[in-house]
Amino acid sequence: MVDRNPVGGPVATRATPVQDTRDEAHEGQSAQVIPLRSAERGGSQRRRHAVDTGHSGEASVVNLSGATDVPGQRASAEPTPAVAESDELVPEAVAKAVEFVRGRLTGEYDVDEFGFDPELTETVLLPALRMLYDKWFRVEVHGAENLPLGGGGLVVGNHSGTIPLDALMTMVAVHDNHPKQRHLRLLGADLVFKLPFVGTLARKTGHTLACHPDAERLLRGGELVGVFPEGYKGVGKPFGARYKLQRFGRGGFISAALRTGVPIIPCAIVGAEETYPKLGDIKPLARLLGLPYFPVTPFFPLLGPLGAVPLPTKWHIEFGEPVRTDLADGDAWDDPMRVLSLTDRVRESMQELLYARLSQRGGVFGD
């Protein structure tokens, strides 16, 4: 008990009953109890300043109602009786929201070295995306069992749709269909991180720059990484080229997977390619705005902002059989021929998945 609460002796003893309730509430959910920040810290004597200003007087309502899904919140809170009484009547959502706002106001949440903020992602960003996912695109997921249960993995998807909504939907698909609700860490172009707001949000949802060091670091750290090797060529392809995979670059993602020995999971996203049927490209305007392309769709820029609403197509996201990379010998990642042949293999299996799924679907907008 005490070592989980290094804030100080007296607080620890007073907080003991609270933690007992907590533990009961969390039986079988020990994974969420372990990553509490206060548990990770050693050096209790060093935090001498923190002791007196501690968290006394702040009731951790969520702890009592057992509604915590939020990692990174503190265990050590001393409930004031008044709140503890009213506590049982408070709806879970409100208590959760209050707890969330409290963390935001006091800066008590965790961010990893890539800027990933799991609490914000799960509380605010994923629910927002989920609306689009459930109601607008009605995403159906197939083959979620192909995603690795634990450890690193590289999800390779087809990119399309002018605005990379497909990447965000794949993120939701992985989180909501994986038994452990893993986060898909996407690799994005540098343009994403250059843009204000977009770049920050991307970092907060756990995405990072598509470059070798970052990809390898994430994979070595046992994360599930998502990559769209077609890049701009894929996301900005004309409507006529839909579901035709574009060139895959140098296969940098393959060599990162080979180097770390993680499986590659091909992923086919069907439906995204029709959300913004790109008919043309105003190149001078794109150059002026510093964008890779300036799309012309049947509705954009004709209808202005209204034209930027994506068409409500029906989506299917399918995860294919994983391709193992740990069987290759040590320096395969350095051999361009082997990297490229593995790249082609992954590309072919993605194209097959795409065609198979396309032939099965009924219509673009419905089943």
């Binding site: 009213s86 506590d87 409100v94 929201a97 961010v111 070295e113 800027g115 920050t200 990072t208 970052d214």
Partner: protein
């Protein structure tokens, strides 16, 4: 052969002075000499034990004479200022950084007795941009943000250090690249920044910050002097804080400024004698910088005792920064208002 006679540069500075006091109280050294253009602060002189202070300018050839006549075998170069905390004129700082380093290293090269060199550098050498990797390792390319800033001085300086290594392979060289330093007692650009009641940030960006506590920085320099650990090492605390998070923790008011208006804000702050924001610093606020400290832990053998968050909390509490916006009382108020009103809507059971 262990170090015996140590020369420390930049002892009037924050880190150099403390290092002089530490080494001066270490009985293993025969002599500890501190040099700088101005004497160290009084509190350092009072505590510096056997260490002696010599007023000398490292930009002056005289430094070679000091090194050879005192039979110095270990040189600790802590005189480089990567980010002067307050408004400083660019030319003298650059001279001290670049020409001073050149002179000092030339003196080391000519002194046959010198066998160890410890250099204080900065993680700003990696730059910060949308194209940078999220975490810099020691072998990441050095791309300072602008060709004129303090970071580019550090890159030049490290270039001279590599040149010395080439010409004198017998010298053990340790280069420590520090992330932004923070602590209750130090005066750095970071500590001044968070002491502002209203903290300007870049609109639409939330940088990742990695900090190193000043006591950890001191320990790393001391260990590098005492032990032989050749190589380049990033020095930073574990973990990362988002800039907005740090602002909230310090109870400051965040003032997001559009990127285009930021230079004028920084000019204003500089004019008001508050913080000197260089171009490097502005980019740091934009994108942030995180370094990999694996080699520091594994090869150098030092694990920072303060994480980024602990170092920042220590700074906030040690400085007794009075919060402008108190997040704790605000959230307590919210709880008082929100929970009972939520209760009213719950059908009684």
């Amino acid at each position: 052969m262990p170090s015996n006679i140590v020369l420390v540069t930049g002892v009037s500075g924050e880190l150099g002075g403390k290092l002089l006091a530490r080494l001066g109280n270490n009985p293993d050294f025969e002599r500890v000499i501190g040099v700088d253009t101005s004497p160290p602060p009084k509190r350092v002189i009072a505590r510096m034990g056997n260490a002696e202070f010599v007023r000398a300018d490292i930009r002056n050839p005289l430094i070679a004479k000091i090194i050879s006549s005192a039979k110095v075998d270990t040189v600790v170069h802590a005189a480089t200022t990567a980010h002067p905390p307050g408004p400083a004129r660019r030319t003298p700082v650059k001279e001290m950084n670049v020409i001073g380093t050149m002179r000092l290293l030339a003196a080391c090269q000519r002194a046959p007795l010198v066998r160890k060199l410890v250099v204080k550098s900065t993680a700003a050498v990696y730059g910060a941009s949308a194209r940078s990797p999220a975490v810099f390792t020691e072998d990441s390319p050095l791309m300072p943000v602008s060709p004129r800033g303090f970071a580019s001085d550090a890159v030049e300086m490290e270039g001279y250090v590599r040149g010395l290594q080439r010409r004198r392979p017998d010298i053990t060289v340790t280069v420590a690249r520090f992330t932004s330093m923070i602590g209750p007692e130090v005066d750095t650009v970071t500590t001044r920044y968070f002491a502002l009641p209203v903290v300007p940030t870049v609109l639409g960006y939330d940088a990742r910050m990695q900090l190193v506590h000043s006591s950890d920085a001191l320990s790393v320099l001391e260990l590098a002097t005492v032990r032989d650990n050749p190589g380049v090492f990033n020095v930073g605390g574990d973990g990362v804080l988002a800039l907005s998070q740090a602002v909230r923790m310090a109870g400051r008011v965040e003032l997001p400024v559009p990127m285009a208006a930021l230079p004028s804000v920084s000019r204003l702050l500089r004019g008001a004698n508050l913080v000197d924001f260089s171009h490097d610093q502005l980019r740091l606020l934009n994108f942030g910088r995180v370094v990999d400290t694996g080699p520091l832990k594994r090869e150098f053998g030092y694990t920072p005792r303060w994480s980024t968050r602990e170092a920042f909390e220590d700074y906030v509490q040690g400085r007794a920064l009075r919060p402008v916006i108190d997040g704790r009382s605000l959230s307590a108020l919210l709880r008082k208002v929100a929970l009972p009103s939520a209760n009213e809507h719950v059908p009684s059971q």
